[in-house]
Amino acid sequence: MSQVFHPAANSIARISLAVGALAAAVGLVLVLFVLPRSSYATRQHEARDQPVPFYHAHHVGSMGIECRYCHSTVDRSALAGIPPTKTCMNCHSQIWNQAPALEPVRESWRTGKSIEWVKVYDLPDFVYFDHSAHVNNGVGCSTCHGRVDQMPYIWQEPSLLMEWCLECHREPERFLRPRSEVYDITYETPPDQLELGRRLALEYDVDPQVSCSTCHR
């Protein structure tokens, strides 16, 4: 009986085992560490379909409307507030009041039914985030929401993973800005950010806790 396996079979088997193990390890790393951080899982930078094609770039960028005109409870409440239809109609009863794209707004105004916006920054239900605690302590809108003035449709700028939250909660000095600049969407981090941040953290008595119950309860 001739040999079933060629003498090289041993080497091939060993190499395949090694390659297989390596592939499994790489796969595991991918599945456990890379995939959850990928924009596929986090839905980062993914514009969503909305019932009304609302352009932040136009309203914020071109018209220069400040964030709080619409998100009026951002400094008082956990929720920044999605504007009521009334806010849209303040202007759009006068301008673009026949535009077909704005028909859902007018319909809402007529019928009293809410416009059903798709949530873009959607935290899990066991996370309790508070806008007021951030904007009152020198965390700017654009720190988390990015250059909204340049976004046509709004997308999620950061990953919203817990490690991203902790980046700032552990070292707030890297991100703090003066309270007067919080709503400035074009604000740029100065070169002496760390020094400024440390000074502001002291001045504002910033104490971002990293206990679990800070956000989970």
């Binding site: 507030g81 239809t85 009334k86 105004w109 916006w117 508070d130 009152n136 119950s213 989970h216």
Partner: protein, 1015 residues
Amino acid sequence: MSHDHIPAVPVTLEGVRRRPGGGAQRRYWKSLDELAETPGFLEFLHREFPEQASSFEDAKGRREFLTLMGASLALAGLTACTKQPEETIFPYVRQPEHMVPGRPLFFATAASHDGYARGILVESNEGRPTKIEGNPDHPQSLGATDVFGQAHVLGLYDPDRSGTVRHLGQERTWGAFRAALGQALEPLGEAGGAGLRILSGRMTSPTLAAQREALRAELPEAQWVSWEPADRDNVRAGATLAFGEAVEPQYRFENADVILSLEADFVSSHPASLRLVREYAARRKVDPLKPEMNRLYVVEGSPTSTGASADHRLALKSSAIEGFARAVAAGLGIGVEGGVDHPWVAPLAKDLERAGARAIVLAGETQPPAVHAIAHAINEALGAVGTTVVYTEPADAASDGTLQDLVADMNAGRVEMLVVTGANPVYAAPADLGFAEALERVPLRIHHGLYLDETAVLCQWHLPAAHPLESWSDARAACGTVSIVQPLIAPLYGGLSIHELVAAFIEGSEPKGYEIVREHWMDVLGGGEGDDFEKAWSRALHDGVVAGTAFEEKAVSVTVGDWARAPEGGPTPGLEIAFRADHGVFDGRFANLGWLQELPRPLTKLTWDNAALMSPATAQKLGGFRTVETGAGHVTDVVELRLGGRVLKAPGWILPGHPDDSVTLHLGYGRTRAGRVGDGAGSNAYALRTSQARWFGTGLEVARTGETMLMACTQDHWTIENTANQAAADRHIVRSATLDEVAADPHVFEHMGHEPKPELSMYPPHEYPGRAWGMAIDMSACVGCNACVTACQSENNVPVVGKEQVGRGREMHWIRVDRYYQGPPESPETFHQPIVCMHCEQAPCEVVCPVAATVHSEEGLNEMVYNRCVGTRYCSNNCPYKVRRFNFFLYQDWDTPTFKMMRNPEVTVRSRGVMEKCTYCVQRISRARIDSGNEGRPIRDGEIRTACEAACPAQAIVFGDVNDPESNVSKWKASPRNYGLLEELQTRPRTTYLAAVRNPNPEIPSEASSPRHHG
């Protein structure tokens, strides 16, 4: 049932007596099973959950379970890769003024379950009422609530509420009803309303009273009967006997040094209970360095929370209390005959006399009118009127005749149309009246109520009522103060309020409740539509009270009448029965509210059932009566109760401290049409209750039936290892002393325990440079009313698990009130100890968690991270205080839409397989931290009030920053009464207790009935 394999070792009195409960040192025990050390008790003691709790006893077998488990594990792995489902946001179209999404609003209104208002503040989250707090500006609630007030929101969202108008069971519209009513009223109107009767509950609403007058003007012959199953007729009749008019006594406990309660359960069944408890408890928070406190004597026929907190409690059959009261009155030199002497009478009378104007005698609504008259006479003789008691007119409107009169009219065919609103007479009327049969003789029967209940199904028309949180109304508190009741939400089930219903009878028009109530107050407050009225109206709505509506004091004097003469016939020997309103379901109207069904009753610790409560000796007379504790619940003998030819079967239950030859049965159970939660629970006490024996009746016969029943009693659940029988193991969980002992040595409590030695710890100490949260609970003030338990359940979305699960020790309450006895089972002293998470600085639970799901915060909170928890239950196994609760199943109702609206949006709704426990209301801490940060100021002391603290009528709980020496909690913890539980374990608990102080009268004879000096 699964309890068959449990070794059936019952509690026997011999077994209990063999083990010394007394001795030189005080021993505290929770149950007879503990005294007898039955296997059932030991199972609950040594395991964090009984064996049955861990076993998987589903219809599906174990193999199938493993198969499913494997498959679901694989699937769970896959689902982890899926993305979050897309969610949408519904903004307002026109956002209401003052509304900030994400911030709750609080509205002042009033809650009343028995007609009397208690001021409340309702938390509203985006228009959904979610939590009840007390209104600090209301004179009868003073910021506190009771269990019923807390359960108000559950009642609102109850999915079993009726939602449609029905005629003969068929769905109809309101329009159809109005048309039918118009037709029926026509002939009635011609007769001046002669055949019209309205039956309602107690009526304190000024608007409703005005509507009744308007109805009378239109239909002068119509009659309005108001009736409550748990009536206060004796209070009225007693005042009429003594004073000639039905005045209402208003007690002032802040001035009372000596209180004698003749079966008056002012802790749980008095219209002013919240205020009375506050005033009573304030005088019991003893400073050991300046020892001084009030003294409470309670004589009662059925153990109550009031009796449990007394300095001297005498267990007498209800029928024997009159003789005792007469003897006390005679002892004070009042010309009252018929006293039955008792060793307590002379020293008690002496004590009352010594206190003089600063003494007070109260009679309970369960005692006959003569006892009330005697109490009034004693108070007058002591000079107490004006100091500890004043008299005013009663808050409730008088009824047009009694229920008996109404039934007589119905039987005689004099009633053409009966409208029943807010009452359930078919279930709750005295059994001798035969209400259901009489009802059949009424041609037109209309029922208006929250549920399609026992009465509704016997009426042709059923009309859904709006809940008090859905409607405009008003109500008086016992002191007369009026609160406007304002709606927090539009009617969820399309109901109408009682005002809107009555309006349909008067004008046939359809005014809204708002218009009716507002127009009434426009007449009362004056000023027409002008600014003055608007101001007064807004102020009344904002404050929750209408200023200046409290009653004036009335000068009355006692006239001695027939009541002072000895009653005919002596005390009746033999067995008697006592009926009492239930602490949870009250008279049965709350039977469908799971929070109240599952609330361990203050003394029995029973849930989901009532029972025939009796003393150990009475049970022994039944011959072979037994109750066996198993890991799945208590299996107890069912007894047959016979009274006046009526028969009822009920589970028997031995209750330490119950008077001999008496059986207590609580009302409110055995309902057949309460809803999915309440149907079939317990035994219907109304089947035995007659109009003569409303609160107690003699001639009872009791016999064992041979049947047994499984009961869910929590008294041995979560027992901290400290058995009464092992002197070496005594860890001094409960510490108490008399006022004299405290006066002799203010540090008496510190000597009771083992001093912790911090240097022995294996862990490095953790620094808390900033805030450090802590809590102190005063056992001297706690009256065991359970308001904290329900408040916590409401605030923290704590689920209801059901009777079967409670039996297995799986109840989920984050705060439990441990009830301890001390002394012999016949007449023990009782202590209440509310147990929350201790938030140990060196927490045993944290070091054993393999996934770091329970960790410590910078401010010293022991946190539970639900999304990390994998359900190993190691933490609860390692918790010496047994405060951790595990979701064995999906206890939360995730589907019913109304329950989704009810939940606190600030607290995660837990799923199965997750451990949970008290968080010190971390959501409230977060709220205060963020608010104070936004305003750039430190958190003020008292700004954070945990749900239990806020609800407590006794103010027995205080929470705050222990790093701040000026905070209230620091001051409490500095008291020599302060001690921690199991401090010798080096856990460094942040929750500590202030030891109980009792103030016994050394002249009261020491043997027999005195709880204190038993051995």
